[in-house]
Each structure stands twice: as structure tokens, then as C-alpha cells.
Amino acid sequence: MNLTLRVWRQKGPKEKGHFETYQVQDVTPEMSFFEALDKVNEELITAGREPIAFDHDCREGICGTCSLTINGQPHGPDEAATGCQLHLRAFKSGDTITIEPFRARAFPVIKDLVIDRSALDRVMTAGGFVSVNTGSAAEANSILVPKDKSDAAMDAAACIGCGACVAACPNASAMLFVSAKVSHFALLPQGKPERDRRVLAMQKQMDLEGFGNCSNESECEAVCPKEIKVCNIARMNREFLRAIFWSKE
């Protein structure tokens, strides 16, 4: 099959970007979308031109490195999948595919489709942890955790930190990401002692990073490759209100 790719090219963070069009010939439906990009890049390099810079690493949907908006959807049209899991069988020969980076002020473009998501790390630094030093842990089974709580915590913890939620949000809000982390800890007894400090600190950092405000559009949930639910956002709201009005923090 043959495809036309319209790709966002941007030399650096300060430069203006634009779209360039590339033809990909003789690709097969079994190929992954990124392998088609690889092919374009191999041809560009051979011709001595700069290839399309795009982030990718594990290529199996777990590292969260890829950050492409494909035909207007972060990670592309597949349900519950990352861009690297997208295969060309999702398209038909002759299609034109538009590829842009995840766009948000908090995710500045480094080059072409590569973005800087360190804002998410800084939110984590603010409070996304349990304060336990190595060696001070109690016997693992000394605190029993109800299976439903543990499963719900795992549902939230499955977040791969890709930032697609931010990219899909009409407001570029990071609430799904932050709430997933807050929820993961809030649901477990190990996370309870610091719950107030954590949610206040993470929410504050989130705001400082310049993400937008959540308006419950649920686009984040719809694009999340790990199917993280907006019930986590509600939980974070609860945790936040609790921390503001009940705690002494």
C-alpha cells in the first residue's frame, strides 16, 4: 500500500513549525505505523536530508515515550493503544495521514515531533511518592490490602506517563495523569499518611507548569492507552477538598 504523510517539522523550540509532505511507497498492513516512519527516515538519511525526529523506545506500548498526534488523535485511531502499537492495517492505501506532536504549552517542542515532558516529572517530584527509606519497610504481608482496593490502585498505577491525556484535553489539562498518581497512593494504606500533603503539592506543581484547567470533557479517558478512568479525577478532587478543608496542612 501507499500512503501520504503530512508531518510537522520544527527545527527547534524557538522556531516556527510547518507541515511537510512525504510519500511512503510499498508498505504492508502488517507493518507498524512507526516502521513506516522508519522507512521514510531511512530514505531521507540516504538522501542526506534530516530525518523526522520522533520519540519512541519500547515499541510495545509500555514506556510512554511516543508522543504523536495521528490524524487528530493522540496515539492515533486505535482504542487503548499507544502510537507504537498502531499498525498500517488501520489505514487504507492512498490515505493521507497528518502527524503532529502532542501540543501543550507545558510540553514544548524540542524538534519536529519530539517534545519535552519534564513537567510531568516535576509534578511527581512534588509529591508522587511514599516517604519510606530503604530498609525501613515492614513485612510485606503485615498490612493486608483488600483486593478491590489493590486492583483499583493498579488500574490507576498502570499510567505510562505519556501525556496523551494532556494532548487530547481541549484545555491541555493534566488532571488525568496527576489524579492517576494521587489515586494510586490514596487507595493504598501505604499512601494514606501523606495523602493531604501529596495532593496539595502535586496539584500546586501541576498548576505552576501551565497546564489548563479540567472541565470534565473526558477526552483524556477516551484516548488513554491504559484506559485510566476519570473516576480518578473525581477522587483527586475529593482528596484535594479533604486536604484543603479538613487537614491542618
Partner: protein
């Protein structure tokens, strides 16, 4: 009190404020609607109700409170929207929803401006009589005269459709914002939100239709 300022300035604080104000406004809608329904009981009863309201010494306070709710709901939203607009300086060439947004959520801004325009018109004309040639003192007569015009009646119905859309997202969204989300009850809240939106907007819309159909005061 630093914490309160931090709260109001935080992204969650803002939306909690908007959501709470919105829910209270939903309450106002219900009382307004209940009052409006007295229209169908006839001129005398409705005017008596209007007089009771106007004579009530609490009314100015309530009106100020109501205006404050509206202003908070609007200003905080505008502030948040301005921030949201800044949060994505380079917009997408192409955006395709994956199914999260609803018609209600997608049109929030448009329905909000429609409602704002409506409220200004509604209060200016029916309450303060601006830009109108009302000679009647009594409210019933004013309403019926005003809604005789197909343009006005049409605008009122259109606005109520907008209100329905606005509520269809706003109602359930307020609960989510306040942290009410539960696998058992959220579906109920969502259904109740739609029901509330359709019922309130629908019933409100009956009034201009009915008034227009009556052809003014006989």
C-alpha cells in the same frame, strides 16, 4: 486565610467554585420554573405571586446573591477559559474526538454566551422594562405582550434548547467536580442530569410557546 486564596486560585478550586455556583443556579432554575408555572393558573394568581415576591423584604438580598452566583459562575469560568486558551499556544491542525466529549460539553462556551445574552435581555426587558413600550404594570401582562412577538418567543425557545445542552453537561460535571463518582451512582447522576436538563429546559420552553400561541392578552 492564605489557604483559602490558594484554594480559590487553584485549578480544582476554580472548578469547584464554578460547579457549586452552577448547582445553586440549578436550584434557582427550579424555583424560577415553579414560579413561572403559576402563569398557567391565570392572570390573577400570577400577579399575586409577583406582588408577593416584590413586597418581600428579602428580595433585594436574594437578588444580589443570585447576581453574585451568576457573576462568580461566569467570571471564574472566563478566567479558567483564558488560562486554558493559553495552555495550548500552538493549536492542532486536526482534532478528532475519540468519544469523550458530548454535544453538551462541546458547546458549553456557545450556550454560555447564548444564556448570558438571554439573561441580560430577559432582566432588562421584563424586570426593568428597558427598550420596551410596556404600559402595563403587572407582570403577567408584560410577559404575554412581550412573547407575542414570534422573534422573541423563538429566541426564548432557542435559548431554552441551549440551556438544556448546558445543563446536560453542567449538572453531571458539577458532581464529578465535587468528587462524586461511583460505579453504582454515577450512571444514575448522568441519567438524572439529562432528565433534569430536558425537563427544566422543556418546561421553560413551553411558556413562550404557550404565550405566543395565546397571541398576547386577549
Amino acid at each position: 486565610m492564605r489557604w483559602l486564596f490558594d484554594f480559590l486560585n487553584s485549578s480544582i478550586g476554580k472548578k469547584v467554585t464554578v460547579g457549586l455556583a452552577g448547582l445553586l443556579l440549578c436550584g434557582f432554575l427550579l424555583t424560577h420554573l415553579a414560579g413561572n408555572l403559576i402563569l398557567f393558573a391565570g392572570q390573577a394568581k400570577f400577579n399575586a405571586y409577583a406582588e408577593f415576591l416584590e413586597k418581600n423584604p428579602l428580595l433585594p438580598a436574594l437578588e444580589i446573591g443570585l447576581a453574585a452566583l451568576f457573576l462568580i459562575h461566569i467570571i471564574v469560568t472566563l478566567y479558567a477559559r483564558w488560562q486554558n486558551w493559553q495552555a495550548r499556544p500552538v493549536s492542532y491542525e486536526m482534532t478528532v474526538s475519540k468519544g469523550g466529549r458530548t454535544w453538551g460539553s462541546r458547546t458549553m462556551t456557545y450556550t454560555a454566551f447564548l444564556l448570558l445574552g438571554f439573561i441580560i435581555l430577559h432582566v432588562a426587558t421584563l424586570k426593568y422594562g428597558l427598550a420596551t413600550s410596556f404600559t402595563e404594570d403587572e407582570v403577567f401582562q408584560r410577559v404575554m405582550t412581550f412573547l407575542k412577538s414570534p422573534w422573541m418567543a423563538g429566541f426564548y425557545v432557542l435559548t431554552m434548547a441551549g440551556l438544556g445542552l448546558h445543563l446536560s453537561h453542567g449538572f453531571e460535571s458539577a458532581f464529578q467536580t465535587l468528587g462524586v463518582n461511583h460505579p453504582k451512582y454515577t450512571p444514575v447522576i448522568k441519567a438524572a442530569g439529562i432528565l433534569f436538563a430536558v425537563a427544566v429546559a422543556g418546561t421553560f420552553a413551553v411558556i413562550p410557546l404557550w404565550a405566543y400561541w395565546q397571541g398576547g392578552l386577549k
